[in-house]
């Protein structure tokens, strides 16, 4: 009268095995208890399971039914255990003889009529199970596309409890889902609403965007209102390179764990573009909540985190971004849960040069005093600014000139060059765990930068001349590496280094480490 099934519980972005044990003892009173640290949604599963079993042509046993989710010290949440519990109860009452229960991962939520409802976190659970040698999974039909690219996993998608039981008993086996390779998963790049060809003029900003996309660098646009900062940022997804298989899995895992993957969708192959509003809290950006859910910085992993009007974000929130940006992961600790989420995203930010917005404008006089300007700029702290590889001034194009300016290249053309540069980087970093130049640490820089002596000498002079920090030093080398990659050159030459410096020196012009007469 005892039966066990296998399920996995989600902890952060990985799964831990949970033994679902059902024991039915004799008696003529109907009793059903569930033990093993279940949360509210799991406790409710008792009612769903009872109804689903009865409505699928099975009987709920009389007597005392005890379900134990073991190990008991792992906090279980969500509805993913429903199917495993129902199967265990049916098996324990010997209504059907099932096989392979210890080798098959069983996931899914039950509706009252016995049909299966998709659940969160299927991809991370399946990946974790596979790492532990489980290679069969029974799951809701709608969750199946999510795991279609997990190599070596036999996936059995079921529509309802009855189908699941028929499969497990061998009476009517479900066909394994056809496995897809990553290339087959790649969706056709979506048509982008914003295309670089529609941005007139702005060649410096466009060039900067190309370099940023090629090397995955953080970038800050500074410019007067209406100069097109936001539009430029929105063009970025259209020129970003395709995600690699590893990147796609990493990102999809986070989305799946956060419950943000629409049911029925497969692996995410398009880089995410996250644009949280400036009223977002630190927890929303970094991750948090009772269950330590991933924040925007992790949802943008391998993609773009766009902060429009950066000084409007509360200082505390911006400062909290520093560590995830630097380390590439966010540790989220809450009373009930601890999790580490990857957060290697490109930070793209925009801001006005001052409160009234017109400092440096040629069309309108700025109304701000120099102390006001400094106060405004100081909302972005030096350390945070240091972590932004590129700072670009966006030129304000007078309205009458807009129509006169030539339209530039289309995003697709730029993307070809970006892809080429990124391929060089993937080749370079194939024995490491990073994918692009921006992710290099000091050791990687030493190993891969390949800068000419002349270029390094130039950099040293520039550091002195523009009063740049040591962190800027490393960032400029990384930038120069990307500039050289775009040209397909093995070495960083003086010209590459100089262009990299150009992308980095407006902070000395605005934040003014050099001439401090206005303070």
């Amino acid at each position: 009268m005892l039966a066990k099934t296998l399920c996995y519980a989600l902890v952060g972005v990985s799964g831990v095995p949970i033994d679902v044990q059902a024991y039915v003892s004799g008696g003529n009173q109907f009793q059903f208890t569930m033990v093993g640290l279940p949360d509210t949604a799991v406790k409710e599963s008792r009612d769903r399971v009872v109804a689903a079993i009865k409505n699928s042509g099975f009987a709920m046993p009389y007597g005392h039914t005890t379900v134990n989710l073991s190990p008991a010290d792992v906090k279980k949440e969500g509805t993913v255990f429903d199917l495993a519990i129902a199967v265990a109860i049916i098996q324990a009452t010997k209504q059907i003889k099932a096989y392979d229960l210890q080798d098959t991962l069983i996931l899914g939520e039950l509706a009252l009529d016995g049909s299966l409802v998709p659940v969160q976190g299927v991809l991370p659970l399946v990946i974790s199970a596979k790492e532990r040698g489980i290679n069969k999974v029974l799951l809701p039909y709608m969750n199946a596309p999510e795991v279609e690219a997990v190599m070596g996993m036999q996936v059995y998608p079921a529509r309802n409890l009855y189908e699941a039981m028929q499969h497990l008993s061998g009476n009517a086996p479900i066909l394994t889902q056809v496995q897809k390779t990553y290339e087959e998963c790649l969706q056709k790049q979506q048509e982008q609403a914003y295309d670089l060809s529609r941005v007139r003029g702005q060649q410096q900003a466009k060039r900067a965007l190309e370099v940023a996309a090629a090397g995955g660098h953080n970038i800050l646009f500074v410019g007067v209102p209406g100069s097109g900062k936001t539009m430029l940022a929105r063009c970025l997804p259209g020129i970003l390179p395709q995600m690699t298989q590893e990147e796609a899995f990493e990102t999809t895992r986070i989305y799946s764990a956060a419950g943000m993957l629409a049911p029925g969708t497969g692996l995410m192959t398009v880089r995410p573009f996250r644009a949280p509003h400036h009223t977002a809290s630190a927890a929303a950006l970094i991750g948090g909540g009772i269950n330590a859910k991933p924040g925007e910085v992790s949802l943008a992993h391998n993609g773009v985190l766009f902060l429009d009007e950066m000084p409007e974000y509360p200082r505390r929130v911006l400062e909290a971004l520093r560590q995830p940006l630097e380390d590439g992961y966010a540790n989220v600790s809450r009373v009930r849960a601890h999790a580490r989420y990857l957060s290697r995203c490109m930070l793209v930010a925009s801001m006005n040069p001052c409160l009234c917005g017109y400092f440096g404008s040629r069309t309108r006089a700025c109304r701000c005093g120099s102390r006001d300007i400094r106060k405004y700029l100081d909302r972005i702290s030096g350390p945070l600014l240091d972590r932004i590889d590129m700072q670009i001034e966006v030129d304000s194009v007078p309205v009458e000139e807009i129509s006169a300016k030539a339209t530039g290249e289309a995003s697709a053309e730029v993307r070809v060059r970006v892809e080429k540069a990124r391929k060089i980087q993937l080749e370079r970093f194939k024995n490491t765990n990073i994918y692009c130049n921006a992710q290099m640490n000091n050791k990687h820089i030493e190993q891969y930068a390949n800068a000419d002596d002349e270029a390094m000498k130039f950099l040293h002079q520039a550091i002195k001349k523009f009063a740049l920090s040591m962190r800027a030093y490393g960032r400029i080398i990384k930038l120069a590496r990307t500039v050289a990659d775009l040209k397909g050159k093995p070495n960083i030459e003086l010209a590459d280094m100089a262009e990299a410096v150009q992308f980095r020196i407006i902070d000395s012009k605005y934040w003014g480490a050099g001439d401090d007469i206005t303070r």
Partner: protein, 364 residues
């Protein structure tokens, strides 16, 4: 030890609420400060006001030595009207302060001084000009006087400090209570370089709002001319200008961008006959302190510069006017990547300068 009379004058100066007029009336009535100290009668409450009278009585209770010892304790100095080292320009004004408290060194007996005043809400243009004009004046041996406030004042002091010269800051608070506090390091720098921090208010006096217009007469009084850089409506700097006119000082104004908020007042002064100043030499020449023929020849010669072909194009494009990046590309037909590279190299060589708003110009 100082004389009994001077000690009594310190006693009067230590009173916060005794007005300039009230002090004059007392001296008139008693003949001298020491007599006033010895014979102060309760009738005087009607003459100088009850508040001032009460204050004088309570100060008197501390004894005559107290004031001098207090000064010594603070390592501060005081100069009295009539003393040899009392600034000679200040002596001539209608209402010179009887006692000046100061740190540092007062100017010598034959000094030249210009005060630079302007808005606390300065623009970058204004503070940059204040800085460089003050520095150049100082390099020509002129003492720069200002008020240690934010904005133009601070920029002027910093310009002098940059040149290592002497500047005088006149405070609207006591010299032991420097306002604004952010400028304490600057004040220290000023004293170190042989300048002075001056106030007519008692050592620990607060920076009360009504101090500042009164203080401004000392700013203009100490100097031979006043340079106005940026002022917004209802600006305290206008008070300094009217003091300067009353005291017969020369008034200079620096022109600004026509539609900038700080330009209105300087421009209307210029229309009313103030002298136009664009650099230190303008002022030195107008004051008759020497001719400006020794202006350095700053013109760059392109043959002397070692420019590549691309850099030459950029140089020539910028010869006419300052340009944005976009315009530079149009004129030079370089790619964005090439232009980025060469702009940085030319900036490093000090040939061109980047301006806020993404503009570039030749460095002069």
């Amino acid at each position: 030890m100082i004389s009994q009379d001077k000690a009594a004058r310190l006693w009067l100066a230590y009173s916060e609420s005794l007005t300039y007029k009230g002090r004059e009336r007392l001296i008139e009535l008693y003949g001298s400060a020491i007599d006033a100290y010895n014979n102060l009668s309760s009738n005087e409450g009607n003459v100088i006001g009850a508040k001032a009278f009460d204050e004088l009585i309570s100060l008197k209770a501390k004894g005559l030595d107290y004031f001098y010892l207090e000064l010594e304790k603070a390592k501060a100095k005081a100069v009295f009207l009539g003393d040899e080292n009392y600034p000679y320009m200040l002596k001539e004004i209608q209402d010179p302060p009887d006692v000046l408290f100061y740190y540092g060194n007062l100017p010598g007996d034959d000094y030249k001084a210009i005060s630079i005043v302007g808005s606390r809400k300065d623009t970058r243009y204004g503070s940059k000009q204040a800085f460089s004009i003050a520095r150049d004046l100082s390099l020509s041996g002129v003492i720069v006087v200002s008020g240690l406030a934010y904005g133009i004042d601070a920029a002027a002091h910093k310009g002098v400090v940059d040149s290592g010269g002497k500047t005088i800051a006149v405070l609207g608070s006591g010299i032991k209570n420097i306002y604004p506090k952010d400028h304490i390091p600057l004040a220290r720098e000023i004293i170190k370089l042989g300048g002075a921090i001056i106030s007519e208010y008692p050592l620990y006096s607060k920076p009360l709002a009504y101090h500042f217009p009164v203080r401004n007469r000392i700013v203009s009084g100490l100097s031979h001319g006043v340079l106005l850089i940026e002022a917004r409506e209802k600006s305290g700097t206008l008070i300094t200008v009217s003091h300067a006119l009353n005291q017969g000082r020369e008034v200079f104004a620096l022109p600004g961008q026509v539609d900038a908020p700080g330009s209105l007042i300087p421009h209307s002064l210029l229309r009313d006959g103030a002298r136009l100043a664009t650099c230190a030499d303008d002022i030195i020449e107008d004051m008759g302190w020497g001719n400006a023929e020794n202006k350095a020849d700053n013109s760059l010669n392109i043959e002397e510069l070692n420019l590549t072909n691309e850099q030459g194009k950029i140089y020539h494009a910028l010869c006419v006017d300052s340009l944005s990046f976009e315009e530079l590309l149009e004129k030079t037909q370089l790619s964005a990547s090439e232009a980025n590279t060469h702009i940085v190299i030319m900036q490093m060589q000090g040939i061109i300068e980047a301006l806020p708003g993404g503009m570039y110009r030749l460095n002069n």
